[in-house]
Symmetry: C2
Subunit: 386 residues, 2 copies
Amino acid sequence: MPVNAIADYSTYPLISPLLQARLQPEGIEVTWGDQRRSPFHYLWLRDNCPCSACVYSVTREQVFEVADVPIDLTAQHTDVDEQGALRVVWQDGHESRFDPGWLRAHAYDAASRAERRAARPRQQRWTAGFELPLFEYQAVMEDEQALLDWLLALRDAGLTQVRGVPTEPGSLSHLARKIAFIRESNFGVLFNVQSKADADSNAYTAFNLPLHTDLPTRELQPGLQFLHCLINDASGGDSLFVDGFAVAEALRQEAPQAYRLLCEVPVEFRNKDRRSDYRCEAPVIARDAWDEVTEIRLANFLRGPFNTEPDVMLPFYRAYRRFIEMTRETRFQFRQRLEAGQLWCFDNRRILHARDAFDPASGARHFQGCYVDRDELLSRIRVLQR
Amino acid sequence: MPVNAIADYSTYPLISPLLQARLQPEGIEVTWGDQRRSPFHYLWLRDNCPCSACVYSVTREQVFEVADVPIDLTAQHTDVDEQGALRVVWQDGHESRFDPGWLRAHAYDAASRAERRAARPRQQRWTAGFELPLFEYQAVMEDEQALLDWLLALRDAGLTQVRGVPTEPGSLSHLARKIAFIRESNFGVLFNVQSKADADSNAYTAFNLPLHTDLPTRELQPGLQFLHCLINDASGGDSLFVDGFAVAEALRQEAPQAYRLLCEVPVEFRNKDRRSDYRCEAPVIARDAWDEVTEIRLANFLRGPFNTEPDVMLPFYRAYRRFIEMTRETRFQFRQRLEAGQLWCFDNRRILHARDAFDPASGARHFQGCYVDRDELLSRIRVLQR
């Protein structure tokens, strides 16, 4: 008797049984085995009715629309049925049944909401001394558990290395597609990081690149970046990483006003060449509704002129410079040279990456890269965890 | 003498000549021919030095980093040179020259900032009686001015139709690629909108679809949606469009509190099937830093259970239902049946779209669709306007 046919393919274990359900003026209050009480408004319950008339069972998408019932809808009757489900008989005779596991997982009393918030995955912020999570190409390609472990490390630590990757050009795409399709950009589906005479980005020179995120010039910066080393015989060109969330937190502690400015003042980033002209204006630090940092947007070489009130300009320069200075402090840095057959995969919206200048005359250096979005990473994790 | 070598490939006409430049404690104040005065901080000017030591001329990207000069940097000397450029000689002997057209375009005194804000492109909101901007496939494919006209209509009116499109499957991609690469999703690069027995979305049934945006389940909803009619011999299935920004504005006027709730309370949207599980939590109405609406996120059939404090639940349902009710009012609606060889292209983050139920037994109906992001649209417009 799976009554949660509204089904998001997840399963909802029975945390605590439903003891009682009572009609109230605006909804139904249920009492759980652990004595928690959860109110559910009539509209909320009617809206979430999982029956096959309300949810199309093939797509598992709702066909019922809550705008089609009276706003003051009430129920005739409610009870906890023999299988422990919440049963509701509506004014118009329609009946709904709710699986108690599903109901508990979606209850919106303060305790239930706080519990869900607390159960969210936690990012592990890191500084120098970071223990790099290492994965083997063959295992990740063949074993779903190894794949999941890798993806969880990407989600939570943000920086990973995969070893044993074939060094044929294009091999990277097989690995990326274990997550999902690749996000294309004007630089291609796969991009080649090599020193080029007609470079359309400083990335395609032999210059050092300061710590940055890729494509801050797009409304949505790519979520994951892959960098696959095919050959690295040139001297120099070490990779450098910093956890941007750790730096943001350190700045918040040290200089809350500077942190606030980086959260609030939009900065324009620009990518332009003969065929394209991308611009995006957004703050360096983005936060979610709970004030937690969700994104760093930074690439000094792609930045446009600051455009803020004259009174804010100097404090803003101080804040921006301080953030850059902190990223340069070794206490935050993880440094390693990437060798042929190895690959970086990291959260491009969190982990700043840089490379030292290299000497193209000293030997060949060829990396390939690509992007996959955060939505795809999280979707793949959810499916693997079903 | 192009001194704006920091070059973003734009040109900056001389609006008003530079008359005078004076050293001040924190920067340089310039006076323009029209008597406007603009302060520029030393750090801002040094940061934007366009010389070939500071900006790599091949990529036109900065190699200089503002974190590498003293925070209290000052200039030895400034003047307006014979060509009318602002010249600055720094403490350390470095020299910068700024084109007066570029400098005026980036001045950050209050008047200059207000002027730039006012010059932004304005969206033309529409209601019933909308005059649909029509374009011819052949013209858009061959003539850059016709292409630009179409793209400006997409940016400003949000809904367009293109006629004379070949009805071979896949033809759509030629048109989309006049803008840029296509944004892939789990539904493919091109998706086929047909009634399917094993539908993984209500879009792939013969049901009516209520007014919605596509992929509200992704952090970044696709910017442009294309829907190309290959054959439409089935009865029913008319297309319906509403300008979501016009509805949001009407709601703001009618019920400011309801509007505020839709701007602030995050709603979860879900797309799930056997291979994927996308979720995104975001408000129905998104606004920019100036409180202007930038996005609507709405698809009743992809919505998860509301999850907000019990006190907010009923007011939120009222606001959500009122928004849905307004989208159903004919005063906002534009309705038209799409015929073979015709194509809708619209701003998916602004224009809600719907289709009536159709009868698959009455004849064939086959649409193809794809997505292109807003970044790509705006980049293409900028390049065409250079």
